[in-house]
Symmetry: C2
Subunit: 422 residues, 2 copies
């Protein structure tokens, strides 16, 4: 008897295979977007490029080993200015974590407000952020920490649904921000289209203290570096067309966590002159400056934006096979069954998998019991709540290729079994 996609006997066969796999006692991990060991090995040279006293002097004669330079070495700024397509004056090179920088930007807005705002966010009741979904759990956690209400926004093929974004920010003064990963988005891999970016630049929020948190985490993280850049836009150029108030809407973030070493790289803020001046002023109470020796390491090791782009080709060599294992296995095992959809990203760190509605938690659970750790179902949604219980985020970068293949086989079996159970 065939009740759904799978017949009873097929379901029993799946169940038997699953029990067999469970008995193998796997311990595999597809949870977090961590570079693999071989990727880390690519940057080892960076640890030795600053070793003598001479290495520590900037072009302007600053001794990087001593106090000072709140906003970062000019040389480091210049590299990221070119990568991000913005003048150096619009850059702050900060510490070891762009997440920390984003959290601190929200903190500053909560306590001190932002340029153009009338009061700190923290003195206004019921403030909200727009959250394109699926999205990055740590963005959502920041909102949760500060009690900022999150409104999920549907992602289309070319970015967030801008009709909804425009309508909401225009009417609701309590909406203070939106989280964006505009290139190779976490987890969908989508890159915003030029039209979407133009519409971001043209936004006319009701709140004068509205900010776009533009987390350009995967700016040079193409898996296919010979592809034309899917981000065929420069948001700074677009937003400049609309004048000062629009320019002030934008906080852009980047980091080298997935270029050199996670947690031992540098983080970057790019924003309007007014935002930068204000941020520096408030930041000067917090610190005398960030780790300039590490900034100098990045300068000496890469030399230029082009140096970083070349380095990322080596990352792509390592990562492409992993993504091909993930997408190839999904296609081979689940293609045509009508029980799952997934992204085929050309860059970034994740594959987004949508299983049958109501099945994501079950798949997570089945995987867990079979020794394959997945990011919890729902994590890609605000408050961990996926209304369809459908989305799962696959992080292929950390495991070795053979482990990844095994983990994907297990995952696909669990997707089928969950669908069969349904």
């Amino acid at each position: 008897m065939k009740d759904g996609i799978f017949s009873d006997s097929e379901r029993e066969a799946l169940r038997a295979r699953y029990e067999d796999i469970k008995s193998k006692g796997y311990k595999l991990d597809l949870t977090r977007g961590k570079p693999g060991k071989r990727q880390l090995d690519l940057s080892m040279g960076m640890l030795s490029v600053v070793s003598s006293g001479e290495d520590c002097y900037s072009e302007a004669g600053v001794d990087c080993r001593n106090y000072g330079v709140l906003d970062g070495l000019p040389e480091t700024k210049a590299i990221f200015a070119e990568l991000l397509g913005v003048p150096s004056d619009n850059i702050i090179v900060a510490g070891n974590s762009s997440l920390n920088l984003m959290y601190d930007m929200v903190t500053r807005a909560m306590i001190f407000g932002v340029p153009g705002g009338e009061r700190p966010w923290g003195e206004q009741k019921g403030i909200k952020f727009l959250c394109p979904v699926p999205g990055y759990d740590r963005h959502f956690s920041i909102c949760e920490a500060f009690g900022i209400e999150m409104i999920p926004i549907r992602m289309n093929e070319d970015g967030p649904d801008m009709d909804i974004v425009e309508a909401l920010v225009k009417t609701d003064e309590r909406i203070k921000g939106i989280w964006c990963v505009p290139k190779f988005a976490n987890p969908s891999g989508i890159t915003y289209s030029r039209e979407v970016v133009e519409r971001f630049a043209a936004l006319t929020p009701r709140a004068p203290d509205f900010r776009i948190f533009w987390d350009n985490a995967y700016i040079v993280h193409s898996l296919y570096p010979d592809d034309p850049d899917p981000a065929d836009w420069n948001i700074f150029d677009e937003i400049k067309k609309y004048g000062r108030e629009h320019e002030n809407m934008l906080y852009c973030f980047a980091s080298t966590s997935k270029i050199t070493f996670p947690g031992s790289g540098v983080a970057i803020l790019a924003a309007s002159g007014e935002n930068i001046e204000y941020t520096k002023k408030v930041m000067s109470y917090q610190t005398i400056g960030h780790d300039k020796i590490n900034q100098m390491r990045h300068v000496k090791y890469f030399g230029s934006a082009e140096g970083i782009r070349n380095h990322m080709r080596l990352h792509a060599e390592l990562l492409r096979p992993k993504f091909e294992i993930v997408c190839g296995t999904l296609e081979r095992e689940l293609g045509g069954l009508g029980i799952a959809k997934w992204s085929n990203p050309r860059g970034g760190y994740f594959v987004s998998l949508d299983v049958m509605p109501g099945c994501a938690k079950r798949v997570y659970e089945l995987c867990r019991e079979a020794g394959v750790a997945l990011t919890p179902a729902g994590a890609t949604f605000p408050y961990g709540h996926d209304p369809n219980d459908s989305n799962l985020r696959i992080a292929p970068t950390f495991p070795e290729n053979d482990e990844l293949q095994t983990a994907m086989d297990v995952l696909c079996l669990c997707v089928k079994l969950a669908a069969a159970e349904k």
Copy 2:
């Protein structure tokens, strides 16, 4: 005619010498507590100790090059646990700046509150900090940024006037904290006595969310390493005697900014288990972790707390002559005149100079015009307001010895001239 300390002709002679010095066009700087170049050279070996992949693995097998470990490497914790006299579990090793850590602790208290508190500091009106004076300007700036009212507390020879501290915290619930530099204090060089530390441990503040900010910035910064440790106390041991609520009062800070490289060292928080757990929880929204490669550099380079102590002997060799130039010149030029008093510190980074009341700004100005930059008069007091206009902070560490001697000669001349003008 002799109207005061100096006769008219003496005053004219001072004036003439001053004009002569002014014409020399000096450009000397006694402003900030920065290590000198030769001190920085002492730590150069640290930049090469982590250079291979193997160097990056912790004892527990953590790859320091990748994400994770919010509260710091166990090995790094262990070193500072020993230095601070507290179990490793009571330590967080954070980023590159203890100032940043202090600012963030205040921020967390403002927004989220502290263990034992009923509401966040930010939701309570008119909160205050006690500020022993003279003190560290950047502590005071944090209060100013957050609109926390500052109450100056007189420093005695053995620490803050505890009669006043006890009376104030016992009666005023709005007093939420006190800034302390308990060893080789900035700028006085005073080390708190055992009795003062015992009285801190025994404090019974009205506010359940009161915190002692114990900035142990100069814990291993003796100029005379063969001296018995003037800090013959362990505040953690003292405070433990009074139970959990007292233990929760204490936030202790330290850093390697003046051990290895300012801005490229590591910063440490030591506190009660409850404080540490709470801080980690809130911190987990802010960052995935701090720079573990740099933490590992410190571990590999020093090996142990003893390694740091030995290293600080080399610093002392370089710094002792500088402090002797400062104090020697003060004694030679101003001794017995009754127009100035100064500290003779056995450690730390500063000499505190009290000139005649109403003269500090004038001395600052005279020095400035003669090409010697001093920290602005008043900077050692909350709001930059020294009620006696008397205190100046001398930072001898950065200039070369010959420059320092010249700067001190100019300074002493300016102190005399200002007194003569008075």
